[in-house]
């Protein structure tokens, strides 16, 4: 394993569906602790990049590295074990499970909570100890997101903003080094967005993780992101500090036309 100064590095990452190049030549370099934005008009290929990075799609060109380790070709579970977790553009919680159980599913593979099935089936003391520790950890995570009081409600009964937060909590529970957030502020009002911004800052500080996010709210992006990449038609139009990249003439052209 080579040591890399970047948490995530993609090299000429791309995928074609038949003849259509959905994403091509995406080169991202994301440093430890950064909040990195991926923006662009609808259909630019942002979510496709996320699907490539999480193993939902396999890249047809290029590759990507997490802390210097090549993850191309790995399956979805394996990539999660290596340290990439994500949320979804259209929320995909385990709707008929309680809030706390959603987070506990995220904790499933955490080595701290190892307990083999025989121990569970025979309900050995270890089983109860591990269950209790998992529940406690889940509650800690829910506290950060202000969801503790909702812990015994079904996920599908939460209001929209809280569902988004729960998705982040569930992803964080898998103990990632890189967290991918797909439009975390979508459908939120300005207060909720501001609240979300604070939460993201807190988790960056508290967990020391790196965040890559897709967002349409450009004000939100320029406030929170250290660096961004603007995608259009599957390729990078501009990269760099949020202010500079968003003022790039090519970017303005892509967003509002000539």
């Amino acid at each position: 394993m080579t040591v890399s100064e970047f948490v995530l590095e993609t090299k000429e990452l791309g995928i074609s569906f038949g003849g259509l190049k959905a994403v091509s030549d995406v080169n991202l370099k994301i440093k430890q602790g950064e909040i990195y934005g991926l923006v662009g008009p609808n259909g630019a290929g942002k979510t496709t990049v996320f699907n490539l990075l999480t193993g939902v799609y396999q890249p047809t060109t290029g590759t990507f590295f997490l802390n210097g380790k090549e993850l191309k070709g790995f399956g979805q579970e394996r990539i999660n074990h290596e340290g990439i977790a994500r949320t979804f553009q259209n929320i995909r919680l385990f709707n008929n499970m309680t809030v706390v159980n959603n987070v506990m599913v995220g904790l499933h593979n955490n080595p701290e909570f190892k307990c083999n099935m025989l121990e569970s089936i025979f309900r050995l003391p270890k089983h109860f100890k591990v269950e209790k520790a998992m529940r406690e950890r889940a509650k800690e995570l829910l506290t950060i997101f202000g969801l503790l009081d909702e812990r015994n409600n079904l996920a599908c009964n939460l209001p929209y903003g809280k569902q988004r937060k729960l998705e982040i909590a569930r992803a964080l529970a898998t103990n990632p080094t890189l967290l991918l957030l797909d439009e975390p502020a979508a459908g939120m009002n300005p207060n909720e967005t501001e609240d979300l911004r604070k939460t993201i800052e807190i988790i960056r500080k508290q967990f020391g993780i790196t965040i890559l996010l897709i967002e349409h709210d450009l004000k939100f992006v320029s406030e929170i992101c250290d660096e961004i990449t603007v995608l259009n038609f599957g390729t990078a139009l501009a990269q760099g500090k949020a202010k500079d990249a968003l003022n790039d003439p090519e970017v303005i052209k892509a967003y509002i036309g000539k």
Binding site: G75, F88, R92, F94, S120, I121
Partner: protein, 292 residues
């Protein structure tokens, strides 16, 4: 009094149906497929017990244990060899494969054990508990007790353990579960293992009541348990329990009334149709809400 003993009989055969139905419903909920070879696992378990009785003479408990373990391994093997390669294929391809596996088992049993039914009388428990006018067969009591214990244990397993929680997560959203690092193949394997083990156990109780074993031994109870799973709402674990017990009770009552006794099977399947007409998702099935 007679009504109560009929009811208890119904509950106990319902418990047997429920144990089989759990296999259908869990596999459907988690692997999203109908495993039509599930009923034949009962038959295989029966023959394994028969062979064990020949080899071990009369050690019934060891015979049962070997049959259950064999069926658990068989379930895992079938999933691995026949169904896993088809993951992501069209549901029809998987369905027809399952029907193929079912005929494979039946034909193999016919080749190995020939067509004459085998009698497995060692499993029978004679006698009945008499409380005043009430008389309940011991086999009914044993079946009821084991079925209740198994269903309680399974409910606890699903609700209170890591693996159980992962099973629910996979049935809710397989891809999201994968992205949370859940090993979906392992969870599906466990599901098949549990389902097949329960089927073998149910076979024991069926043989207690009717000790004649042939290669189609599992076919009818398989279909009935599937019916029970659908009545309860396929994919729902409590649904399979409720559906199985309901079916068993209806069957027992219908058997007791001379006028309609010959039509018992027809009555059971008519009830399936009526319930599905009124509530298409089954009694405890969840409505799938599509977001627009």
């Amino acid at each position: 009094m007679e009504f109560i003993s009929t009811l208890l009989n119904g509950l106990s055969s319902g418990g047997t149906y429920a144990m089989i139905a759990l296999g259908y419903t869990m596999v459907y909920g988690i692997a999203k497929m109908l495993n039509f070879a599930h009923g034949d696992v009962i038959m295989v378990g029966g023959y394994i017990m028969y062979v064990m009785m020949l080899l071990l003479s009369q050690n019934v408990f060891l015979g049962i244990a070997v049959a259950v373990v064999f069926c658990v391994l068989l379930g895992i093997l079938v999933e691995r060899l026949a169904y896993r390669p088809l993951r992501g294929a069209s549901p029809l391809a998987v369905l027809i494969t399952a029907i193929g596996v079912s005929y494979l088992f039946q034909s193999l049993a016919l080749i190995v054990f020939k067509s004459s039914p085998k009698m497995l009388s060692v499993l029978q428990i004679s006698g009945a508990l008499k409380l005043g006018k009430l008389s309940v067969d011991y086999s009914t009591i044993v079946t009821l007790a084991v079925a209740a214990a198994v269903m309680t244990a399974l409910t606890l397993f699903v609700k209170k353990t890591k693996t159980g929680r992962a099973m629910v997560a996979v049935s809710e959203d397989r891809d999201a579960a994968k992205l949370m690092g859940i090993n979906v193949n392992f969870i599906i394997m466990i599901t098949f293992a549990i389902g097949s083990g329960l089927a073998a156990l149910a076979g024991v109780f069926m043989l207690m009541k009717a000790p004649s074993l042939s290669n189609t031994f599992g076919a009818m109870p398989g279909i009935k348990a599937f019916t029970a799973a659908v009545i309860g709402g396929i994919g729902s674990i409590p649904g399979a329990m409720v559906g199985g017990i309901l079916l068993g009770v209806i069957e027992a009552i219908s058997f007791k009334i001379p006028l309609i006794a010959p039509y018992t099977d027809a009555i059971e399947f008519s009830i399936l149709i009526i319930i599905l007409l009124v509530k298409p998702t089954g009694l405890l099935g969840k409505r799938r809400r599509e977001k627009v």
